[in-house]
């Protein structure tokens, strides 16, 4: 009971802390950037429609770049920010369960990234709906309501939320294991997720991106199959995606909790 209370307290404080623009301005910039790009394209493009803008930008820019970067910034900070700010001393001299603290903070960060990136994805779709050369959104061609079953917004939203879950918790755990999670996280984002996920063959299954693509392929409209990388036939089923990403998230929490239980954080004087 006490651990649950601590977990909830940390989740709430982490979420509120993350919202502060002073801490997260870069995260906000990254999240909003694709929407501005979509709007610029939508207002100027002649040969691409709203669905095309939304699909291309959400896959190539939002899901492959923005989601990993935003979750990296928010997730790794769960512990490393406490270490960098030297405030971790206060936490580790209190009678709390360290794993509860870690899980609480990680879930708080997850709430923040899921909310922010989810909103960012919807905003991107809204901005894309100005295409082609539209000055007003076109709700008939591109329904804005994500529950409308258009095969574009819902798959994007689902993939963004799944990506937030897997990446945020993974990077939160990374922050427990290393003093330099940003460097390692960036290497992972671009070398593994960016490169490996686009190589042909079964190695793709080692990346989160593969499962996000699988999710979209299973739920998306026909138009998705025209995008590079979506022509593959051996995608995971939605249940398989949920199972594997869920396991990955649980594993990240378990590893982070295990490591933080006895880890020393040596702060220089």
């Amino acid at each position: 009971m006490q651990n649950l209370r601590i977990l909830g307290l940390f989740a709430r404080t982490q979420f509120l802390r993350s919202l502060a623009p002073r801490q997260s301005w870069l995260v906000y910039v990254f999240t909003l950037l694709p929407s501005f790009v979509a709007l610029a394209i939508g207002l100027n493009a002649r040969r691409i429609d709203a669905e095309g803008v939304a699909m291309h930008l959400s896959w190539f820019l939002f899901l492959q770049v923005v989601v990993p970067l935003v979750t990296l910034l928010a997730g790794q900070a769960v512990i490393s920010r406490e270490v960098d700010d030297r405030t971790i001393t206060y936490l580790f001299s209190r009678p709390i369960s360290r794993p509860a603290m870690f899980v609480g903070r990680a879930l708080g960060a997850l709430g923040f990234t899921a909310l922010l990136l989810g909103a960012g994805a919807l905003l991107l779709c809204y901005a894309a709906s100005f295409a082609p050369q539209g000055l007003v959104p076109n709700p008939e061609r591109f329904p804005l309501a994500p529950w409308s079953g258009d095969g574009v917004v819902l798959p994007i939203l689902g993939a963004v939320l799944l990506g937030s879950l897997a990446y945020t918790l993974m990077f939160a755990a990374l922050g427990v294991f290393t003093r330099h999670p940003m460097i390692l996280g960036l290497l992972y984002t671009f070398a593994v997720e960016g490169f490996l996920s686009n190589l042909p063959g079964s190695n793709q299954a080692l990346t989160v991106q593969y499962y996000l693509r699988s999710w979209i392929a299973a739920h998306g409209a026909q138009g998705w199959s025209k995008l590079e990388g979506f022509g593959l036939a051996d995608f995971q089923s939605p249940a398989g995606v949920l199972l594997r990403l869920g396991l990955l998230a649980a594993l990240a929490l378990a590893l982070g909790s295990w490591r933080i239980r006895r880890k020393e954080f040596v702060l220089s004087s």
Binding site: R17, R22, R86, S93, R94, I96, S97, R98, E264, L267
Partner: protein, 308 residues
Amino acid sequence: MSGALLSAQGLSRWYGPVVGVNDLTLEVDGGIVGLLGPNGAGKSTFLKLVAGEIRPSRGSVRVLGFEPFANREYFRVLGFCPQQDALYEELDAREFVSFLLRLSGFDAREARSRAERALERTGLADAMLRRTAGFSKGMRQRTKLAAAIAHEPRFLIVDEPLTGLDPLVRTEMIALFQELGREGVHILISSHVLHEIESVTQDILLLHRGRLLAQGPVPEIRKLLSRYPHKVEIHARDARRLARALLELEGTSTVHVAPEGGRLSIETFDLARFHAELPAIAARERAGIHTLESTDAGLDAVFDYLVG
């Protein structure tokens, strides 16, 4: 096991090739204990070991019967005021202290009430609703101290609490430590500014280069230093005449008369005899002593002698 507040056996801690503390064996009974040493002596490392922030590389340390590292039971009775100025800048002082109290198990209402009381006690009653981001060094120290005492710990560790404070705040902090000591809180307080710590306690641990150099009450330590002369300074009407007479006194090693003539600095190996004989000598020589001060009664002198 002994009933000591704190005991260390062969306690060592190193960071790669750098030695923080080296083979410390000691026992501390309780009360207010000063931890002294120059920068780099290993004070902060020792405090981190005692506070359970880091674990020993070798040897062991026990406090109140607990092994400190990551020990939740121990943290219930520990108050730790670290050296660094870090606070949660987005919170006000009351929120900061309340948050840490909630981690100590208090509900929101109790935490807030205790936080207010602790902040009042450290002199921050008027500023407790201000964000800590705008706090001065002294206010930060008071906030940290409030957080460290708000849950009424049995044992308080305070790392360099007086560094950088203005004299008024320093005096208030010293008074608070003394008050806490009277209330029965055991306090381990570190400083490299010796005259500051001297006003808090006479009971010291002296660290140098990661080793324990001396331990005990200042006068006891001073007694141990019989191979070092005691310094006494005298202001007298006829200092030169007095100097000549004191040179003949057994145990006197050096006598120095200041150029202006009225001040004498004497070093003696037998302080008791010196004090016993001085009145008679002064009367005989009609030296007219105005003041007499044992200049090395302070910790500065002890420390200087020890680390020479």
